[in-house]
Amino acid sequence: MVPLSFCGHDLVPLPDGAVFWPARRALLVADLHLEKASWFARSGQMLPPYDSLKTLEDLEGVIDAAGAREIWCLGDSFHDREGCDRLPADARSLLESLTARTQWTWITGNHDPGFSATCGAAVVEEAEVDGLLLRHEADPRETRPELSGHFHPKLRVRLRGRGVSRRCYVASERKIILPAFGALTGGLDAQSRAILRAMGGPAAALVPTRDRLLRFPLAA
């Protein structure tokens, strides 16, 4: 686990797709998209109804491994604003236990604007924590240090006829975009114009492996 120095703070981008902030023992995750499967089931595509459970179990694993006390979800935590009400019993009780034993904050996104958190925890539109701005979608005009989600960045690398595609972080001097954490979330190429535009300047894709933090400069 390799820390990244970001505007005076040490942050650890974890291979699982969450950022650990040791100073606050805080964990930042983006785009859980809980209940995405049941959202599609309503229109006849019966995706496996286990995506929320999988996502939350994965998250629980990261929380416990890191010893996090504080959780920040950077928006699109639910696939739609009614998602929270559709959680199946097992996922709901897991989420309730997590929100009860940590200090949990939901930041809303474009998928879940104004949802009512029936599973506990506070809901805010954005937050500023120790000088770091946490929000769902990066604002290219923002001058303060900012962490966000929304784009689901993914890196594709080709070498010697083989290709690898991985969830990745996109980082610049003052901005970090987190990958999507949800079990059924797809990805957008980190090179894509939308991401580069949101970064507003030179940026790199970051891929943490077990003991290194790989850095791939992105064409501006």
């Binding site: 109804p49 286990y50 070498l159 083989r162 290709g163 991985r166």
Partner: protein, 811 residues
């Protein structure tokens, strides 16, 4: 398509048909008469005949006669063929006699290309004869009008049944026939097939109740024996290669000496290469073309048109031209590389010369010495009339799900009745009720143990006990998504001006970077860039890489494999072989050993600091690829540091940093329990299979209305769905279906299991000090294929980063 002279006295045919035959100076052929007799006796019938035997007319004559004697309104005969083009071709050939007889019989086609207004009219006012494909028929059955439309149906004719009965499309058709039989209880079934090894298997498939003897077996007259040669330039066979590219000059000479030559290649990429090679030998600038399934439809139509008009002298083709569409007067068929099976070779040869009394002319160009043996084996097999095995398998569950949904869209159904109906379809004859209920539950709400989606059911059971769709939008959704062929995600290959050349698989495109070159559509192309679903290219004079198409290959058939094994061992056969093949075998015998037909020879030897192990197992490429993955895994566990493996149809070679002292533990049958399950589950194979069953079964949509139809449009990553499902519901119906596919079609587990079962008893191990002659053809493949193991993904990323860093360094 009709046969000349030497026929049978006509049975009591209506005078107008008899007169038409007489007017042409033709007589009814025996098999045509027997097909009519079967029809008049109300019997189902299977006609087995080689191409060019008046087969199609034999199928239709009884229907024409019946329509003359008992005119009726509405649909009388349904003709189903595996190819849209074949349906169109048959319509053309059928209209001619019907018009010449002056009959008022309406014949129409219905395929994916038929405009929707005509489709609607066909449902309201069907023609007498409708020519269609299994997929289009299945769609017809999803409309409420199906019940009235098919009530008058008397006959269904299934063409080229050998090409698809044992596949998923065959499953779909078998299910459709079961439904038709219910809508029209008097329905009679007739099928036409090329020569097959197991006609009774096909009779059983065709039968509405599994009683194969009730299906009349009609055999066409045997044609003249084909005249097949093996082409060996200067009587030499190369050590390696698998394409016969070295013989381009001689192949071009054959084209020059014939009117129209079909050059068959086993893969699309090979077709592209061969076309290049021929073009550079084409000094007289003869018109030659290339035709394969990845070319755009316009490009294919253009070539087919040129062929039909007689404008072409040679056409390089793949299996896309295997089936019997008459596009021209072919007088020579050339098979580049190994024929793989005797039935396939015969069917391809049948494309030359559609007259029975003249021998079809064919040439095989073996690519290496093993392929020479295989070509010789195929010739012997054809000579002796030995055909390949037909591989029957139980009906696929994803297809069943699609079919049941189609029926639900048409009308409410009773589950017990439907279950009984489905069991009359041969592939589903032994379907357990419990499995049927699982499929039903899957259609209803996804089939999950956790009944999470009960409020979103797609079909619901009413108070009357009948199941019906819960909203009309599900019918619309079904019709947009139905279909059996799920293409791998593809990119369009385009010039900057937007002109589309065809498609390549996304997988292949992902290996390309701007500046890379590849052969496609007969051109050498340079990649300019990839944008969305387009791969932009420009023509280039640079040499090109080969396009790669992923997927299972047609493996060497068991009967040819057995013949090749016998050749190795029986020296008296060698007299027939060219000197360099004889020498190759003789030195092998001296330096190592030539295995007996039932032995598994394994050789080990060092070479340039690596250790090699070569097994001559003859189980075909698909089984060998799986075996390679399994063995290298086990070598890794045993600390032998494997580096990779390569395989062809005949042998597999593994190479490692440490020597294999005893190969026995590597070939023990428990490898199938330990490594196989783990490998299949984690490899892309199962994910690929899952994607297919998820689309066919209707779990996810493939088409979003108004969007372009590319494989990309599957809205979700089926890989992610697979991971979630495997973790939380490993017994889910779709996972079982994907597992069946991966096991059978993609990895040839059956052949692999047989091999490993025999290995302990039959293995002969030779430790050599250097490479043996037999090992050369497979070892030269090293360097062309790569294997990745363990944490290779991470390593690739780390390497990519350091390369980028090195390149960007300014000092």
């Amino acid at each position: 398509m009709t046969a000349r002279a030497a026929g049978q006295p006509a049975p009591d045919l209506p005078p107008v048909i008899a007169d038409w035959f007489a007017g042409r100076g033709w007589r009814l052929r025996r098999h045509q008469a027997e097909m009519i007799a079967a029809a008049r006796g109300g019997r189902d019938a299977l006609l087995v005949a080689s191409t060019g035997a008046g087969k199609t007319l034999a199928g239709f004559l009884a229907s024409i006669a019946d329509l003359i004697e008992t005119p009726q309104e509405g649909l009388h005969t349904l003709y189903v063929s595996p190819l849209k083009a074949l349906a169109v071709d048959v319509q053309r050939n059928l209209m001619e006699p019907i018009q010449e007889m002056g009959l008022d019989i309406r014949v129409e086609t219905r395929t994916g290309d038929t405009p929707s207004d005509r489709k609607a009219r066909q449902r309201a006012r069907p023609p007498h004869m409708l020519l269609t494909t299994p997929e289009s028929l299945s769609l017809l059955l999803s409309y409420p009008e199906a019940e009235t439309m098919f009530a008058s149906l008397k006959t269904i004719i299934v063409d080229e049944i050998h090409a698809f009965a044992p596949t998923k499309r065959g499953d779909l058709l078998a299910l459709a026939m079961a439904r038709l039989q219910r809508l029209a209880p008097g329905l009679r079934r007739a099928a036409l097939t090329a020569t097959v090894r197991d006609p009774d298997g096909f009779r059983g498939w065709l039968s509405p109740d599994g009683d194969f003897e009730a299906v009349a077996l009609v055999r066409g007259e045997p044609g003249a024996r084909p005249d097949i040669r093996i082409l060996l330039p200067e009587d030499r066979v190369p050590w390696s290669g698998h394409s016969g590219r070295y013989a381009a000059r001689q192949v071009m000479e054959e084209i020059e000496a014939h009117k129209l030559t079909l050059v068959f290649c086993n893969t699309r990429s090979l077709a592209e290469l061969i076309f290049q090679d021929l073009w550079s030998e084409n000094e007289n600038a003869l018109p030659i073309g290339v035709h394969h399934g990845s070319l755009s439809r316009e490009a294919r139509r253009k070539v087919e048109g040129a062929m039909a008009r007689g404008d072409l002298r040679g056409l390089v083709a793949t299996a896309s031209l295997d089936l019997g569409v008459d596009w021209g007067d072919v007088d020579l068929v050339i098979q580049m590389g190994a024929p793989k099976g005797s039935s396939r070779l015969l069917q391809r040869i049948g494309r030359a010369n559609h007259r029975l009394d003249e021998a079809s002319e064919a040439v095989i160009v073996p690519g290496n010495r093993f392929e020479y043996l295989e070509a010789r084996a195929a010739l012997d097999a054809v000579e002796e009339g030995e055909l390949d095995e037909d591989l029957w398998r139980p009906g696929a569950l994803d297809v069943l799900a699609q079919h049941i949904m189609a029926l639900a869209c048409a009308a409410p159904f009773d589950a017990d009745d439907l279950y009984a109906e489905i069991r009359t379809a041969a592939p589903y004859a032994t379907l357990p009720r419990e499995t049927f209920d699982r499929v039903l539950h899957f259609i209803e709400s996804g089939g999950y143990a956790l009944r999470a989606y009960d409020k979103y059911k797609r079909i619901t059971q009413g108070k009357d006990g009948l199941w019906r769709i819960s909203h009309p939008r599900y019918a619309k959704q079904h019709r947009l998504n139905a279909g059996i062929i799920v293409d791998a995600p593809v990119l369009d290959v385009r010039f900057r001006n937007g002109r589309k050349l065809g498609t390549v698989e996304e997988y292949f495109a992902s290996t390309l970077t701007p500046g890379d070159t590849f052969f496609f559509s007969g051109l050498s192309l340079e990649v300019e860039g990839i944008k969305d679903a387009d791969l932009f290219v420009k023509a280039t004079a640079k040499p090109a890489r080969i396009p790669t198409y992923v997927g299972a290959r047609m493996p060497l058939s068991t009967n040819l494999a057995n013949r090749v094994r016998r050749f190795l061992h029986e020296r008296e056969e060698w007299r027939r072989f060219p000197p360099d093949v004889r020498e190759w075998l003789r030195i092998q015998d001296e330096r190592s050993v030539l295995p007996q037909p039932d032995q598994l020879l394994v050789e080990t030897f060092p070479r340039e600091g690596r250790y090699y192990m070569v097994a001559y197992s003859f189980e075909g490429w698909n089984a060998h690829q799986s075996l390679g993955m399994l063995i290298t895994r086990r070598m890794e566990t045993m600390g032998l540091s494997p580096i990779g493996f390569v395989s062809n149809d005949y042998a597999i070679a593994c190479y490692s940093l440490k020597p294999v002292e005893d190969p026995r533990p590597l070939f023990s049958p428990d490898i199938l329990e330990d490594e196989l399950v783990e490998w299949i589950q984690t490899s892309h194979l199962l994910k690929r299979a899952f994607r297919e069953v998820a689309v066919i079964g209707g779990l996810i949509e493939r088409h979003v209305p108004g969007k372009r139809k590319t494989g990309r449009q599957v809205t979700f990553s089926t890989d992610l769905i697979y991971d979630v499902l495997r973790k939380y519901e490993p017994d889910h119906m779709l996972l079982s279906a994907a597992w069946e596919d991966a096991k059978g079609r993609l990895t040839d587990i059956g052949r692999l299991a047989d091999l490993l079962d025999r290995a302990p008893r039959t293995m002969v191990h030779r430790a050599l000090d250097r490479i043996s002659p037999l090992a050369v053809p497979v070892l030269v493949l090293i360097g062309r294929e790569k294997v990745a193991m363990g944490t290779a993904d991470d390593e690739l990323l780390i390497e990519a980063e350091s390369l980028a860093e090195e390149a960007m360094r300014l000092n």
